[in-house]
Symmetry: none
Subunit: 201 residues, 4 copies
């Protein structure tokens, strides 16, 4: 019998793939190998399932992020670690896909108690950037805009593989579409690209 956590794993995968509106409770129950009524007994309904998935997803991401930054002193490394953590974990594209859809939906499904987590996400980068400024190594840039670039760039890259491949197959001219790099390297590269603009020369 799958645990509630197993159910959330399955639901996360399906929500990432189909979106909240497109996902079917039947399908989730079947994929999780629990009776649909059991799914309702244990979780409580679609809305509760969505909330639980979002909460777990963002909690875990923020926890890993704060943990990662804890042990790193160098501000440049911190920025790189930030980007890397955005796309780490077992199914990095799930976090990205759900986050992108939820942003597009205006956060309609975000429970109030998940919002502070998003604040901590921005806050972590904000502190890193101001520390860099204090150390005389970073120019003073808008933390929120930097966050948008990094998060948007990482999330978009993490989820656009299927489109990229289709476009690449159709448009042999655009060379830059063809490279397939590990997500981790891409996060590093994206961070470096940004850092080049942020660092004081």
């Amino acid at each position: 019998m799958p645990s509630n956590d197993d159910i959330l794993d399955i639901a996360t995968a399906i929500f990432a793939d189909k979106g909240f509106e497109g996902a079917r409770m039947d399908q989730i129950a079947k994929a999780a190998k629990v009776n649909k009524a059991t799914l309702y007994y244990r979780i409580g309904g679609k809305e509760a399932l969505i909330s639980a998935v979002l909460k777990r997803l963002f909690s875990a991401k923020v926890a890993r992020l704060e943990q990662a930054l804890e042990t790193i002193d160098d501000v440049e490394e911190r920025v790189r670690a930030f980007a890397a953590t955005l796309v780490d974990g077992d199914h990095p594209e799930q976090f990205s896909a759900i986050m992108l859809r939820e942003v597009a939906a205006g956060g309609r499904n975000l429970p109030d108690d998940v919002l502070p987590l998003m604040g901590r996400l921005v806050g972590a980068l904000e502190r890193t950037l101001s520390q860099g400024v204090d150390e005389g190594r970073f120019k003073p840039v808008s933390p929120f805009l930097t966050h948008m670039l990094l998060l948007g760039g990482c999330a978009l890259y993490a989820t656009n593989a299927p489109i990229r491949r289709r476009v690449a197959a159709q448009a042999p001219g655009v060379a830059s579409l063809k490279t397939e790099l590990p997500l981790e390297d891409v996060a590093h590269a994206l961070a470096d690209l940004l850092l080049d603009g942020i660092k004081k020369t």
Copy 2:
């Protein structure tokens, strides 16, 4: 009697708001003030409506983009114009929302004849960047990754206003969440942030 283009306008707005799965044909017909059967008669069905919306959306965006770049010589200005065009138009958040959702969905709904448009989007930036390199003004950076950052940053910012406000209301500590700038200024700022890293010193 609304024209097909009027219908696509309405459909675009609703798809941006609710997603393809969340949008209802009833609602679109009602909002467009056409009979539901007429909607089917003129457009052909939900899938056809989605295709038409996506095609028109990306055609228009690419057209405006290429037109904008046509008249600009300076490579830095071209990058800024690129960002600005990503968020211009009457309802910039609609393009962003639909694009983000579609990327998250793996491009499931993108008709084949829309794919070349995405290639042209990347291609336009790629040419600008390589021109900058040729002119000795840009470092050689990955055009696709740059594209991810710029597109992701702009689209995320263009759609995250509702969430940003909720987070800002709950987390008075994070100062950078509070600023509310016009989208076009933000696009400009994001481009500058990136340009700082791309430009040769």
Copy 3:
């Protein structure tokens, strides 16, 4: 294709038999020979169906009642006509069953616009009784209590046939259970019983 009125006929019969909670929309659709979705398209949902049935039921009863009283001058005859009308019509037990259940339910399902009809029901009897008093033929009795007796007695008798027969079969001793009279005779007898107490001697 059955008309909406045909559907209400069927729904009334099923509601009378099973109660609102016990009736199933599937069953009503099937019995009315319309597709379930058609039932919803035409009526709007269970609550709307209940409201429509209640409204039509009480409208018709009050209309027939007021029409019947219109042409009768003699106050005793008016009381008898009142009782007779309570149990007239094609399926008198349906009105009685639905009314009894609804009273037991505290009028939970009675739409606001049906309430005035109930007022007219009581009002019609009230006017008749006070006319009888004015004419010096009736003692002054509480119209509402009289209404309770007459309505309760008629409705109970109109619906209790199945129980009465079962009890009669089991209890051969109770002679008065065995008589099976036409409903309209019973209404007449009930009215006479009451009139005996109301009439001035």
Copy 4:
């Protein structure tokens, strides 16, 4: 741990309020503060619960009725006591509501062993009336119809308070709706109304 009798108390209240079809085993278990599985273990299921409630309800009513009549000799007083007993007890509206619904349902849920109780209910009144005839005080009237009037009038009045108030609020014209008397006075008044018609002058 609540006794089975406590459970039946709760079930009776909920059945009276919601009807058998509208009542939920979950709700009953929760209100009775027993585990749902315990409810099944101790009572046996919804049908058994309904049977138990009906049996206890009618047993108690008949017992109180026969006990009340036992000590009264005067036939008029007996009729008044009959009416009074119909609406006595802790929650008189519960008996009335359940009885009305069950009559409307054609006695579908009445177990065979409850039927004799209904016979004794009618029988008690029948004996009183024939005694009155024997004593030369009552006219010979149908005991069953008299029973219908008295039981219907009392039960209807005992349960229609919510509707009466709503109607009264909407129809200020109908004066007789406004009086709010104790149930026991009403029973007395209803009995008197009937007695006036039954008594020999």
